[in-house]
């Protein structure tokens, strides 16, 4: 927890006349698990998309390990060490579970080689298996990804993000659409992942977020409303008003 891994300064984003984000300045220390919460339309997804390079900010700068990321195309982000998962399951449906992860691992090393045999890249295949073991999917490696259950597809999604061995892992609602049992498994997985790397989470389920995170950011109407330890957030009157109050008993 020494220096800031990722630093956002005055990040703003407009869509036409609508301001989705305004003046977000925040930095993330290495090794922390941070969650971003906020009511629907608070700008969580926009912020998340900016941090992962999917969208570029209209204003402000983004620094990762001191290097400015503005203007960097999205596909370069993972090569810097920032990897993401998606809220809506986003996998390669007609490829095998193993190939889903293997092709993600391959992106870090070789893209344009049209002559070698991919079967000879044994190390990538082993790395994919290791990632599948980490998320508990190794038993399904030969199946087509589209035939997995929802919770398993969510886990596969994380394995795809994980296999690039990112320093910063961005997870967009990893428990979206999951029942209580699947959610429990996912929380256990997230706890294990957070032991070794920096994790940033967007999540709706309050109880889970407050129990899991070391730090919580609350967004409201595109602005940073609160930033602190889970117990501070729980005690923050304004947060209670805009967010906790309306979803009491949720999750």
């Amino acid at each position: 927890m020494s220096t800031a891994l990722l630093q956002a300064e005055g990040i703003g984003r407009r869509f036409g006349g609508f301001t989705a984000l305004e003046g977000i300045s925040v930095s993330f220390a290495a090794g922390e698990l941070t969650s971003i919460i906020g009511p629907n339309g608070a700008g969580k997804s926009t912020f998340f998309n900016i941090l992962s390079g999917t969208l570029s900010p209209s204003l402000g700068t983004l620094r990762f390990k001191g290097r400015e990321l503005n203007g960097l195309p999205q596909h370069r982000f993972v090569h810097q060490g920032i990897s993401r998962s998606y809220q809506i399951t986003n996998i390669f449906p007609d490829l095998s579970v193993h190939e889903n992860v293997r092709v993600a691992a391959q992106a870090m090393h070789v893209s344009y080689d049209i002559w070698r045999r991919r079967a000879d890249l044994v190390e990538l295949s082993e790395r994919a298996d290791a990632a599948l073991t980490a998320v508990g999917l190794i038993g399904k490696r030969g199946e087509l990804a589209k035939f997995l259950a929802h919770g398993q597809q969510r886990a596969l999604e994380i394995a795809i993000a994980l296999v690039s061995e990112p320093e910063l892992l961005l997870l967009d609602e990893p428990t979206a659409g999951m029942g209580p049992e699947e959610t429990k498994d996912m929380v256990a997985l997230l706890e294990r992942l957070a032991e070794k790397r920096t994790v940033l989470l967007v999540e709706h389920k309050m109880k889970m977020v407050l129990g899991l995170s070391q730090r919580v950011l609350v967004l409201h109407h595109g602005r940073l409303l609160a930033d602190g330890k889970p117990e501070d957030i729980r005690a923050n009157a304004e947060v209670r008003r805009v967010y906790l109050g309306q979803s009491e008993g949720y999750g």
């Binding site: 596909h75 982000f77 993972v78 996998i91 070698r116």
Partner: protein
């Protein structure tokens, strides 16, 4: 010798293993099938056409079947391959073995140009841009008649004998011609197979499956699309060269959008995303054309109706559907 009579499972796993061996040697297996083709079809001329269009469609399949990009302009690469082969032989006096590589390289450059513009767009816009640019090439060939022969097509060159390492082959003999042209097809099959087995082959399939995810994984999707567009154009141009050597003329129609449409129909009939499907598709289309045009000049109505049935009920085409029906072949293509 092991004879399996005890239940389904062992014989199934045995056929599965055999199928795995066959698909590991898909180039060789395809070549054996193509070598038999002239003796299975009613005429040698039909067999040569199946061979030529099979190669063109195979190149197209790399882009459409494996990468998921629907180009409506592949006649540009087939036609340019044919025209440049003919021009290099007739106008520049080059031997065939220099003309063919030249034509393929030139077509690849054209594919780089068309690909650079078209791969910036997606979906229907990509199809329309490829169609428009290919038509541009068509009109260019029509206007530059002193060079291309214009409406009459390119004439005035014949390849009557081919020197194979000092061995003179009479190229007018249809059987000789078929097997010489099969060497080009063998080259195309081998290159295609290498590409599909390569790391890049994995990338294009990932792009087909989920472009957004492939980008998030760290692939430069636009550049990959451009590269596959060029490879696809190059393989289709091999078919174009074969056509020029075969016909000794290059009809202007080989650049026309109807040819592009025919290529799309062939790949859908045979089965996009399958290795041998393009040859099955080319054979089906050309046999239908041959048979139906015997009893009606409006053969396109019949072929069109059959095509609609395929798109609606057999989206994987003949070869893809057949492979799905075989229990031991499922999930392997």
């Amino acid at each position: 010798m092991t004879v399996q009579s005890t239940g389904e499972a062992p014989s199934l796993s045995q056929s599965r293993r055999l199928f795995a061996v066959l698909s590991d040697h898909r180039v060789l297996v395809s070549l054996v099938a193509l070598a038999l083709l002239p003796w299975l079809l009613p005429s040698k001329a039909l067999a040569v056409n199946v061979l030529i269009y099979g190669v063109v469609v195979m190149g197209y399949n790399l882009l459409f079947g494996y990468t998921g990009l629907l180009s409506f302009g592949h006649a540009a690469f087939f036609g340019t391959g044919a025209y440049l082969t003919g021009i290099a032989i007739s106008r520049w006096g080059l031997p065939w073995f220099a003309a063919v590589p030249l034509a393929i390289v030139a077509s690849t450059v054209l594919a780089a140009l068309i690909g650079t513009i078209s791969t910036r767009t997606r979906g229907i816009y990509f199809s329309m841009v490829t169609l428009a640019l290919a038509q541009l090439v068509y009109y260019l060939a029509l206007q530059a008649s002193s060079f291309t022969g214009g409406e009459n097509g390119l004439r005035g060159f014949t390849v009557d004998r081919i020197n194979l390492l000092g061995w003179q082959v009479n190229f007018l003999d249809p059987v000789n011609k078929y097997y010489v042209l099969m060497a080009f097809a063998a080259l195309a099959l081998w290159v295609q197979s290498r590409i599909l087995n390569s790391p890049f082959g994995a990338v294009i399939e990932a792009i087909r499956e989920n472009e957004q995810r492939a980008r998030a994984c760290g692939y430069d999707v636009e550049r990959c699309k451009l590269i596959v567009f060029m490879l696809s154009g190059a393989i289709s141009a091999i078919g174009g060269s074969m056509s020029a050597l075969h016909l000794s003329i290059v009809p202007l129609d080989s650049l026309h959008y109807q040819t592009s449409g025919m290529i799309v129909m062939m790949v859908l009939l045979g089965g996009a995303r399958s290795f041998f499907g393009p040859f099955i598709g080319a054979a089906t289309f050309l046999i239908l054309e041959d048979v139906v045009s015997l009893w009606t000049p409006h053969w396109q109505i019949v072929v069109g109706a059959i095509f609609v049935v395929f798109v609606l009920f057999l989206p994987k085409g003949i070869w893809g559907t057949l492979l799905d029906l075989l229990p031991f072949a499922r999930e392997r293509r």
